[in-house]
Subunit: 202 residues, 2 copies
């Protein structure tokens, strides 16, 4: 029997993670997000902090390749370690997909699992909704003025886009990479999750 | 009671029209596509051929605005008539939306009905799927070689994009204009229509 795999890529603060969690609940599927980091940490013996910093795609980690050979040479060791984090992540994600039907958040899972024929969702919303969600969930940025939250959101998404294109060669958020793109602007994730879940009920 | 309005914008030969028709069947909604042209013809007393040529967005009809005032002046009358076709179309689409729950294909209905809070779907697929669909449905282009079908498809979509941006000021196919974008690459519309329909069942 083939497992049903749903991958969710999402703009920061678009509610994609919540949608994924609720979809998994509705469908009785496993749900993977930060759990993947714990597994990488235990396999690679790298610190959780380091693994997170690689996977949460601080842009400077990804610069050597684009700035040419001399820098890549200097930081060769660092680059290698980052790529081994990515390799560990790929192996773990494939194991999870083989184990059971599941929802996987981010982490290039749509690309990593391309041979498993996952259903690939991209979740997005307009900036006003994202700012609102960011405040509502009491994120670190919740107390900042709008203009600062906006920059914060843009910076995170820029990092995600860079990370994705670095490892997949594709454009993050380009609708052609996904089976479905869902705009959460002005929608209540609690309400849309059961509706989307219906699509996967057998 | 508010009617449920589903608007479907779609790339040529992506199966969007078929998806819309099947969605309407599944949901027992009215379905509007070419019916709108008949109504415009009967109201404006313009020929069906002319109305079609305006609405199927032959790019030259939309050129005056972009090529500056002198040309717009020469063709002032033609421009006015085209805009009156658009105005008649807008009025008809609004009446239909008020009459009953329905699915409306194309025609900037997502924009025209923005105050009716329609559910806006964009349907797309990769070029190989579009060529395959084009051949399967025995379209005029069905006997052309791939390279020619490709140009034909691109030309039609370019027309749609121009028409849409002319009347709405927005970018056709930009995911932010839609509530959901559905990639039909490699999918059987017959199978996905009932699944998508579930989202609208009350």
């Amino acid at each position: 029997m083939m497992n049903t795999i749903i991958t969710i890529a999402r703009e920061f603060s678009s509610g994609g993670r919540e949608l994924g969690r609720r979809l998994a609940e509705e469908l009785g599927f496993d749900y993977y997000d930060k759990e993947i980091i714990d597994q990488i940490v235990s396999r690679t013996e790298l610190s959780e902090e380091y693994v997170k910093s690689v996977l949460e795609s601080e842009p400077h980690h990804l610069m050597p390749i684009t700035t040419g050979h001399s820098f890549a040479y200097v930081n060769g060791g660092m680059m290698k370690q980052e790529q081994s984090v990515y390799a560990a992540q790929s192996a773990i994600i494939k194991e999870l997909a083989e184990k059971s039907s599941c929802v996987i958040i981010g982490r290039c899972a749509d690309y990593i699992l391309r041979e498993y024929n996952p259903y690939k969702i991209f979740v997005y919303s307009d900036m006003a909704s994202k700012i609102q969600r960011c405040r509502a969930k009491g994120d670190d940025a919740a107390d900042m003025p709008d203009s600062k939250i906006k920059r914060y959101i843009r910076r995170i998404d820029k990092g995600r886009a860079k990370y994705y294109s670095f490892y997949t060669g594709n454009t993050w958020g380009d609708k052609f990479n996904y089976d479905m793109c869902i705009n959460t602007t002005g929608t209540d994730i609690k309400k849309i999750a059961p509706v989307i879940a219906k699509m996967f009920e057998k």
